[in-house]
């Protein structure tokens, strides 16, 4: 059997790494990381070695020998045999995914590193390492960034995640600007880079360098490939810098919408590069094609979106497969668009954005959580894999380094971007109400990162038509590296330096909601008085259309008539109630607590936090709380009725969600129970730790025999963490931290922490305390945190 053992180098290197003294925790993390890398690196050549191309001959020989041998001698029955081929492909895929995930884990064990270097850079480095290891082991690097794999498997999850959670309002408000940047900006970039490259190549002095071979059309093709801002890279970097919403949506929207331009230019130039010339007719057709690609893509996406929304209307009896509809319809939208060479990305975005408000009104709470988590998970893994593969593909080559070409490309890209942005902003500002400042322009220009899409497009090029494909690839990779490493690493300090406005984390208050709606109506009225059919007029018309016809079709039951303000209000009440429960109803505990001398001391502590929201909520009159509960109960009862139809063997109804109404009642009973309890020991049933940890809440209730009327699985109660992760409690991710913090604080607070149920600041609290950590966790560790809630609160169409 031709399984080559990896050379001893990894293990010796490991030995060399082990220092004599015991390293502190972060260094240990780094060590672990290196170990993992080497381990993975050593197993992968194993896989590569046994790939059919390499070992086919050997294996067939073995096979023949085995067969021959079988006829003559009776071999002993193989008790244990190794058959790698059987599982090779899925095994290697899983290995790569595992590597990606472990890398992600590893990075966050090393806090300093992840603060300085964006994740994307680290992942590329890891990819380089792994690729290097594979090469060292002497094996052929698998062609991992195969274009089909990339476009069909790796890219869609990221785009769907972006599209589904796209903040519609800022997107629509800035649509004109975004389109200008995406269409005109990309065109400008493509022609500028392509044209000037051609010029430079022509005037390249001296020896008949290969550059002279380069014609105009391949240059323009190269220009169009390299000029597109990449959504994956932009997302990866911008996620970590928390810039204000406007800039984020501008750069990100641009990266999404320029796909249509890229697709058209790419196909146009690729088609005609063989022919060698482009006529005016072709240009005209190209423009038409662009419109078809863009509008067609959006239409396809919208159709699938509506289908998905319509389907979700009927899923009340099969809640389990609700998320599946969302995913499958979206993926089919992408594939359908790709089938017609329309813009798959735009189709996916349209599908996600269109279906979201209706689907969310129809599906259960848990399905919503599932969708959110799955999307974040897949997009996270995809992104990681893409960057690692970029690294591996860099090592593999094929490379053709040409100093002139590469340096000129890099410089031209930068210059083109800056000129493009400045020029366009000058024009755009004439039409904008809120103008873009120089700082904004700088960030937009600087945030134009290139990424894996450019590489994959380059990879797709046919070597026969484009003899200089290798040179192109090298240049593309260099530009990608430059933008991701240099721009990616420096953008964060630059943002700090320039004091660019950051993202505002706070939640929307009901006042904001009421007043914004009011202002919408006001502006619409004023526009009507002026006789001007403006922005607000059309928005209002669309809303009315939506309310009257579309919602009735696509949303099941009574929710179709629910005004947006009410929906928002209910959501807030839910959140507040959940927080009330989590705080153990602590605020309502009477001061006549038995033997709680410490309680008396602690009581005054709760008053200082002077946040008005907190105070407001902590001083809720009793009748008010009852009201909240009543509203909640009526809502939850409806929900519960729908949930009861679960099949017994599909999912256990989560006691937490179903029993929330009961929970509240039980809570009150418990409070009364506590009054009667004299013994401090029975505080097991009383919040013994900081009351804001959901696990604790669960554990408490689990220990109370009266808490449940239904019988949950004993081990599922404290450990279901995903279900708990309602959009309202970002704590779920920081559970372990909460736990630790809980233990630490236990001493100081002596059992019962009278922290007021900070309504508004509750979800913010973990955010404030380990702010940067929370933010970093946003995409990486799957819980989007409070900021995602803002997106949810803002509907597509009110």
């Amino acid at each position: 059997c031709h399984y080559s053992r990896p050379s001893p180098s990894p293990s010796t290197l490991l030995l060399l790494l082990l220092p004599s003294t015991k390293p502190p925790l972060p260094e240990r993390g780094l060590l672990l990381l290196m170990v993992l890398v080497f381990l993975e690196g050593s197993v992968l050549p194993l896989g590569a070695a046994s790939s059919p191309d390499v070992t086919h001959q050997a294996n067939s020989d073995n096979h023949i020998v085995k067969e021959a041998g079988h006829n003559f001698t009776k071999k002993p029955f193989p008790v244990l045999s190794l058959d790698y081929h059987h599982i090779q492909a899925p095994f290697e895929i899983s290995l790569w995914v595992l590597l990606a995930s472990l890398m992600k884990l590893g990075f966050h064990l090393i806090p300093r590193l992840s603060g300085i270097v964006p994740e994307s850079c680290l992942l590329i480095v890891v990819g380089l390492l792994v690729g290097g290891l594979i090469k060292l082991a002497g094996e052929q690097v698998p062609p991992v960034l195969d274009s089909r794999l990339f476009f069909l498997c790796l890219l869609p999850p990221i785009i769907l995640d972006a599209g589904y959670f796209l903040p519609i309002r800022p997107f629509m408000e800035n649509l004109g600007t975004i389109l200008m940047f995406a269409v005109v900006g990309t065109l400008w970039n493509a022609f500028f880079v392509g044209g000037l490259l051609y010029a430079v190549c022509q005037i390249q002095p001296g020896n008949p360098s290969i550059l002279h071979q380069l014609e105009l059309l391949p240059c323009l093709l190269f220009g169009s490939i390299i000029s597109a801002v990449d959504p994956v890279a932009v997302l990866a970097v911008f996620e970590e810098i928390h810039i204000n919403e406007l800039l984020h949506i501008l750069v990100f929207g641009e990266s999404l919408l320029n796909d249509a331009v890229t697709v058209v230019l790419y196909h146009l130039f690729e088609e005609y590069a063989g022919v060698g010339s482009v006529t005016v007719m072709d240009v005209f057709l190209g423009i038409i094609s662009f419109l078809v690609v863009a509008v067609g893509g959006v239409l396809v996406g919208a159709i699938y979106g509506i289908l998905a929304a319509f389907t979700s209307r009927f899923t009340s009896h099969t809640r389990v497969i609700e998320p599946l509809f969302v995913f499958v319809y979206s993926y089919m939208a992408y594939l359908s668009a790709e089938m017609f060479h329309l813009s798959g990305i735009m189709s996916l975005i349209a599908c996600g954005a269109v279906m979201r408000p209706y689907v969310e009104a129809n599906i259960s709470h848990k399905s919503h959580t599932t969708i959110k988590y799955f999307l974040k998970m897949w997009s996270s893994v995809s992104e990681t894999l893409i960057f690692i593969f970029l690294g591996v593909a860099t090592v593999e080559g094929p490379h053709n380094w040409n100093w002139t070409f590469v340096t000129v490309t890099v410089i031209l890209c930068l210059v083109a971007r800056v000129i493009g942005v400045v020029g366009l902003t000058y024009v755009i500002n004439k039409f904008r109400i809120v103008k873009l400042t120089t700082k904004d322009q700088f960030i937009v220009a600087y945030g134009g990162l290139r990424g894996a899409i450019a590489f994959s497009l380059g990879f797709l090029l046919n070597k026969d038509h484009f003899p200089l494909r290798d040179m192109f690839l090298t240049a593309i990779i260099t530009v990608i590296f430059f933008t991701v490493f240099v721009q990616g690493m420096t953008i964060k300090p630059l943002v700090e330096l320039l004091a660019v406005k950051k993202k505002q984390e706070a939640k929307r208050s009901i006042n904001e909601e009421i007043h914004t709606q009011f202002l919408d109506h006001l502006l619409t009225g004023i526009e009507d008085i002026c006789g001007h059919y403006g922005h607000h007029h059309w928005k209002d018309k669309l809303n009315r259309f939506n309310k009257k016809y579309v919602k009735k079709c696509l949303i099941a039951g009574e929710r179709s008539k629910e005004p947006q303000l009410i929906a928002f209000y209910h959501k807030m009440e839910m959140k507040q109630a959940i927080e009330l429960v989590e705080s153990g109803g602590g605020v309502k505990l009477p001061s006549a607590m038995p033997s709680a001398v410490s309680m008396q001391n602690i009581q005054p502590k709760k008053l200082p936090p002077a946040k008005p929201a907190e105070r407001a909520l902590s001083n809720l009159p009793k009748g008010r709380e009852e009201e909240i509960r009543k509203i909640l109960r009526s809502n939850l009862q409806r929900t519960r009725q729908r949930l009861r139809s679960y099949n017994r063997h599909t999912l256990l109804a989560d006691p937490y969600e179903d029993g929330l109404g009961d929970l509240l009642i039980k809570k009150q009973k418990m409070i009364e129970l506590e009054r009667k309890i004299k013994d401090m020991n029975n505080y097991l049933t009383v919040p013994a730790a900081p009351p804001d940890s959901p696990t604790m809440c669960r554990a408490r209730l689990a220990s109370d025999p009266q808490a449940y009327s239904m019988k949950p699985e004993p081990d599922s109660v404290p450990t279901i963490q995903v279900d708990l992760a309602s959009p309202q409690s970002p704590d779920s991710v920081n559970l372990m931290d909460e736990f630790r913090r809980a233990e630490q604080q236990h001493e100081e607070d002596q059992g019962l922490m009278m922290k007021p149920p900070s309504g508004e600041s509750g979800p913010k609290k973990p955010g404030e305390e380990d702010g940067s950590r929370e933010h970093k966790l946003m995409r990486c560790l799957s819980d989007p945190g409070p900021s995602a809630d803002e997106d949810e609160d803002e509907p597509f169409l009110p």
Partner: protein, 194 residues
């Protein structure tokens, strides 16, 4: 049609209005045309009924409030100058506006915009939005789909959230504070009035 300037001069106090509100001559002209369109009886003043010519206002939940905002308290008619002054609130803010010291706050500044919105809530002009006034607005916006109980809850909650000095009403400062995250310059501007 002749030069726009001469038509503008037909409008009384046009120059003064342009100076005060920052509208250009073309805008004043356009608004004047609109004013005349609404003013069916050609008396140079608008009455509340005249606003009925704008059909969309009937569909607007707060249409009545908007109409009454044009009329100063106690007055039954509005002339062109007041019409323009009210609409001046909705001009996009000029960031680089230079003001001489004596000039008062321009009509389209953020504060004035907010004040205008605030006055639409505060019908009795006592400087505070009381619970009843808030309820009225909510009732208008939410219509018949919502029960009285829910309206009360929402109003209660809104006041609790915004009311910092605990006087059970929302003053202008509290109103402003609750809207601090909203970009008023953007939200309350009509592009065509630039």
């Amino acid at each position: 049609m002749g030069s726009s300037n001469s038509s503008v001069n037909n409008i009384p106090n046009a120059q003064e209005l342009m100076q005060e509100t920052g509208f250009s001559a073309a805008h004043i002209l356009r608004l004047h045309e609109r004013f005349e369109f609404l003013d069916k009886h050609k008396c140079g003043q608008l009455r509340p009924q005249d606003f009925g010519a704008v059909q969309e206002l009937a569909l607007n939940p707060i249409g009545d409030s908007i109409i009454s905002a044009f009329f100063s308290p106690g007055q039954e008619t509005v002339d062109f100058a007041s019409f323009v002054r009210i609409l001046a609130h909705f001009r996009p803010t000029d960031r680089n506006q230079s003001r001489d010291g004596a000039q008062q706050e321009p009509a389209n500044s953020s504060i004035r915009k907010l004040k205008f919105a605030f006055q639409m809530y505060d019908q009795d002009r006592d400087g505070k939005i009381s619970r009843a006034e808030l309820l009225q607005v909510l009732r208008a916006m939410l219509g018949i789909q919502v029960t009285e109980e829910q309206l009360q809850s929402i109003a209660e909650r809104a006041i609790q959230e915004a009311d910092l000095d605990r006087d059970d009403a929302i003053s202008f400062d509290e109103f402003r504070k609750s809207l601090e995250k909203v970009d008023i310059d953007h939200k309350m501007s009509i592009r065509f009035l630039r």
